[in-house]
């Protein structure tokens, strides 16, 4: 009798488990459903998540991201708009993109991040996504200078060191500078880097003559056909050309000379 | 009535004989012409740059082309809003600051008063004369600017846009007249024309710069995310405090209405002119009311014993 009661209880529990409402969670990268993702340092990947409301009532699901050992920049987006929650009617499903960016050097080569869809009644489901740090394409950039100085109206050539820390060759490595407003960058050359190789790339930057003196930040990223490096910032101080000062002082001297001559010729009154 | 017209004609002649007034008027006209020329040329250069970009993208078989910039013809003339606020108001002050005090010091005011002319007719005559000068000035600017705009930019305004332009210049006339009436009142009340002039300059600075900047400082700047560039930008929005401060500045009201009329605001750029006026009726009242109040006060001040 006791065993029959226990078995019935177990069957009921299992049935309750199956019947209990919880979001169905699935993850997809590319075209296959998987909970794994390969990412290179500096790369941004979009992981497709599907959230399904299997309940008979409408629910709001709050999306929480838990970081792994490597620091990732991540956010969830629906239709390209960053979002922290999704509202679903009964039986409805929605696609949510997890946008993941690996910045800087990774500490480990395999990692796990989790995304939790938490309902307003506390029920939730967590999906773990395995991250494999791809070491095939690793591009890093560093500046030869810690600061730069330039006159307004002049141009300067900046050199950056680019390094291939991955296992495969990087093609057409080039610089993508992000300049202060109205500054102009000249064409940059491209180089190929074999694994472990370091190269130097230059970019000519022209500062407009109308630029007032001050401190600015120039940002630069190295880009290849396969991957993108992190962004570095270079403080640049713009100074005013001396020629303008010489003209002003020259005008002052001229006025002074005319005054002295006037006094000398006509005397004091 | 003939006395009023005589006084008005005298005001017009006196204005055009005054070298300083001619200098500031000339500056106003030249500035408005320069702004139209620069605005039209810059717009043409921008369109050429856009065409070059499109050609380059087409040659590269680009998937998508940037949309053509939405250019509303009257927006090219929009800088005139600032010039009317700035120089137009000063022209009106220059016109009116010696209208009473100058005549009082020269002794001609008593001479006019002994003629069969009522004191309120003197005020009306001065007002009419000043209005005629301002109207003539704005008419010249309208004709010059429209001609230059059509020649340089190659665009021509349609009927709705012409209506907007004419309404704008009528509004500019009322705005400048408000300053003229205020200066007239100050001139009646003060003996020293230099003092009256500087007082008007202080009022002008307060209305045209201080109050609008105070209002601007009280706006909220909410952060908005640019999803494409993943950058955060600040978007200004009005608050109750900023709107309240703007009520006291006819210049801010004039700029708001002017921007709507001259198609600077894309949301109202294609609306009918009457719809725009209806929308901005509060601002129009704010522009007219101080002038009307001061006109009434001018008539009253002219009746005082010490007015002559």
């Amino acid at each position: 009798m006791r065993y029959r009661k226990a078995l019935l209880l177990m069957i009921l529990s299992v049935s309750a488990l199956f019947l209990s409402v919880s979001p169905a969670f699935a993850a997809q990268t590319g075209t296959e459903l998987s909970t794994a993702c390969s990412i290179s340092p500096g790369e941004t990947k979009t992981i497709l998540l599907l959230i399904q409301n299997s309940d008979t009532a409408e629910h709001s699901y709050t999306l929480n991201f838990a970081n792994g050992i490597n620091g990732y920049e991540a956010y969830c987006a629906a239709d390209g708009v960053p979002t922290k929650s999704v509202q679903l009617s009964a039986g409805e499903s929605a696609r949510v993109d997890l946008v993941l960016t690996l910045k800087g050097e990774p500490s480990v080569h395999t990692d796990t991040v989790t995304v939790t869809a938490l309902r307003e009644d506390g029920q939730g489901e967590t999906i773990s996504i395995s991250i494999l740090i791809s070491q095939d394409y690793v591009l890093t950039i560093s500046s030869m200078l810690s600061t730069a100085e330039v006159m307004n109206g002049k141009s300067m050539e900046l050199s950056f060191s680019v390094h291939n820390g991955g296992a495969k060759e990087l093609k057409a490595v080039r610089l993508e500078p992000e300049l202060p407003y109205k500054w102009i960058a000249g064409n940059t050359s491209t180089i190929d880097l074999k694994p472990g190789e370091t190269g130097t790339l230059q970019v000519a930057v022209e500062v407009p003559a109308s630029q007032t003196a001050g401190n600015f930040t120039l940002k630069c990223t190295a880009v290849s056909d396969e991957t993108t490096s992190g962004q570095i910032s270079l403080p640049v101080t713009v100074k005013t050309r001396s020629s303008i000062g010489y003209v002003m002082i020259g005008a002052l001297l001229l006025a002074a000379i005319i005054t002295v001559v006037q006094f000398a010729r006509h005397g004091r009154r | 009535m003939s006395g009023v017209w005589t006084l008005a004609r005298k005001e017009v002649k006196a204005a055009f004989r005054d070298n300083v007034f001619l200098i500031i008027t000339g500056l106003f006209v030249v500035l408005s012409i320069i702004s139209v020329y620069i605005g039209s040329s810059t717009k043409n250069a921008e369109m050429r740059a856009y065409q070059d970009i499109v050609q380059m993208l087409k040659s590269q078989v680009a998937a998508s082309l940037p949309p053509a910039p939405a250019i509303y013809p009257l927006a090219i003339l929009s800088n005139i809003i600032n010039y009317v606020c700035m120089i137009g108001a000063v022209v009106a002050i220059f016109l009116g600051f010696e209208s009473f005090s100058g005549e009082r010091n020269a002794g001609t005011l008593r001479l006019i008063a002994v003629r069969p002319v009522y004191r309120d007719q003197i005020v009306t005559g001065k007002l009419l004369g000043g209005g005629m000068v301002i109207g003539l000035l704005l008419a010249v600017i309208l004709v010059f600017n429209l001609a230059l705009f059509m020649v340089v930019s190659g665009l021509s305004p349609n009927a709705n846009e012409m209506g907007r332009l004419i309404v704008f210049f009528i509004l500019a006339f009322l705005y400048m007249s408000s300053f003229y009436v205020t200066t007239l009142y100050v001139s009646i009340r003060t003996d020293d024309s230099a003092f009256g002039f500087m007082l008007m300059m202080i009022i002008w600075i307060s209305i045209s710069y201080v109050l609008p900047q105070l209002a601007d400082s009280q706006r909220n700047f909410a952060y908005a995310l640019n999803t494409t560039a993943q950058t955060v930008t600040q978007v200004p929005s009005d608050t109750v405090v900023s709107k309240t401060i703007e009520i006291f500045s006819p210049a801010a009201q004039f700029q708001n209405v002017g921007k709507d009329l001259l198609q600077v605001v894309p949301e109202t750029a294609v609306q009918g002119v009457f719809r725009v006026i209806q929308r901005q009726i509060g601002a129009l009242v704010n522009i007219l009311l101080p002038g009307l109040v001061l006109l009434f006060l001018s008539y009253r001040a002219a009746q005082r014993e010490d007015a002559l």
Binding site: I184, F263, H266 | S217
Partner: protein, 321 residues
């Protein structure tokens, strides 16, 4: 004799009704802008904290720096008020310095006492510089007190030096307009007209030239900016910029002719209204902005020398109308 003329100048200014009205306006605006700056700081802090939360929710690690808590740096208007009203004050002083002597017929009296014309002008200059210096110090004291009491912000040594340098720039800026006004009045036969002409020059330098500069900036021609409207990529932006080089040079040249622009640029840098100078010492800021300092001092010096020549050469300096 020069000192006597200077002392008289100071006494006369304190009796000038118009001067006192404008001075009161300047002091009131100073306090008002600090009050409003304090409100803005609080609102800016709230908005900043919200944006930080927003960015963190996107997983961003590069966060914008905290805004400056000094209410002066939140208030661009403070610099503009001091510039506009201060210039007006200086114009009134400079004009009154010469016209009152003509109206009261004391010019003949002074010059008949064996006072050289240049001594007379130097005395006037000294007196008016002392008045402007006094106004600057008074405004400075009120500003410091207001920032401490209303803003509740204790200023660091660095910030105190920056504000002192800002008031020095304000003094130099007002000096330019005072000398301009004195110069035009001493040249002009009609004293009242001189004031009008000075105002026209002030309008041209302080409002018209900067406005022309704004008009010529292509980014101001379309709402939201030209590049933002077109949705251009960086490469396309660069291509367009290279076509507008001449415009930029001409535009900058017109703006450089305005002492107001020089004053604004150095002041915004010193008061951290314009970002990018927080890491510099006050003297480094002045070193970077040396051209603006020259733009405030050299025109004043040239104008003063021309004043000497004009006053020396004019025969009818006693004319009162």
């Amino acid at each position: 004799m020069m000192i006597e003329i200077a002392k008289k100048e100071i006494k006369d200014a304190l009796r000038n009704k118009l001067f006192l009205i404008i001075l009161c306006l300047l002091l009131v605006l100073t306090v008002v802008s600090i009050i409003l700056g304090s409100f803005q700081i609080r609102a800016a802090l709230d908005t900043y904290n919200q944006s930080i939360d927003f960015l963190k929710s996107l997983g961003k690690t590069e966060l914008p720096p905290m805004p400056n808590l000094n209410p002066i740096s939140a208030s661009k208007g403070f610099v503009n008020y001091v510039g506009m009203v201060g210039a007006l004050l200086a114009i009134v002083l400079g004009n009154a310095a010469i016209t009152k002597e003509r109206k009261q017929n004391t010019l003949r009296l002074i010059l008949s006492r064996g006072v050289f014309r240049d001594t007379f002008m130097n005395g006037k200059l000294l007196g008016n510089l002392a008045i402007l210096g006094g106004i600057t110090i008074l405004t400075g004291i009120i500003t410091f007190a207001s920032v401490l009491v209303i803003g509740g912000v204790p200023l660091s040594g660095d910030e105190v030096v920056r504000m002192c340098l800002f008031f020095l720039m304000s003094f130099l800026y007002m000096t330019f307009f005072m000398i301009l006004s004195m110069g035009i009045t001493s040249i002009s036969a009609k004293g009242s007209r001189a004031l009008l002409l000075t105002i026209i020059v002030w309008l041209t330098l302080s409002f018209i030239f900067p406005q022309i500069g704004d008009t010529m900036d292509m980014d101001n021609q379309l709402p939201g900016g030209f590049f933002a409207q077109m949705g251009m990529t960086k490469d396309q932006e660069q291509q367009v910029l290279s076509q507008f080089k001449f415009y930029e040079t001409l535009r900058d040249g017109i703006e450089e002719m305005s002492p107001t622009k020089h004053y604004e640029r150095v002041s915004f840098a010193l008061l951290n209204v314009k970002p990018g100078f927080e890491s510099n010492t006050p003297w480094q800021v002045v070193g970077l902005k040396w051209i603006n300092l020259l733009g405030l001092t050299v025109p004043s010096a040239i104008l003063w020398l021309l004043c000497y020549i004009a006053f020396l050469k004019r025969e009818n300096i006693y004319q009162t109308h």
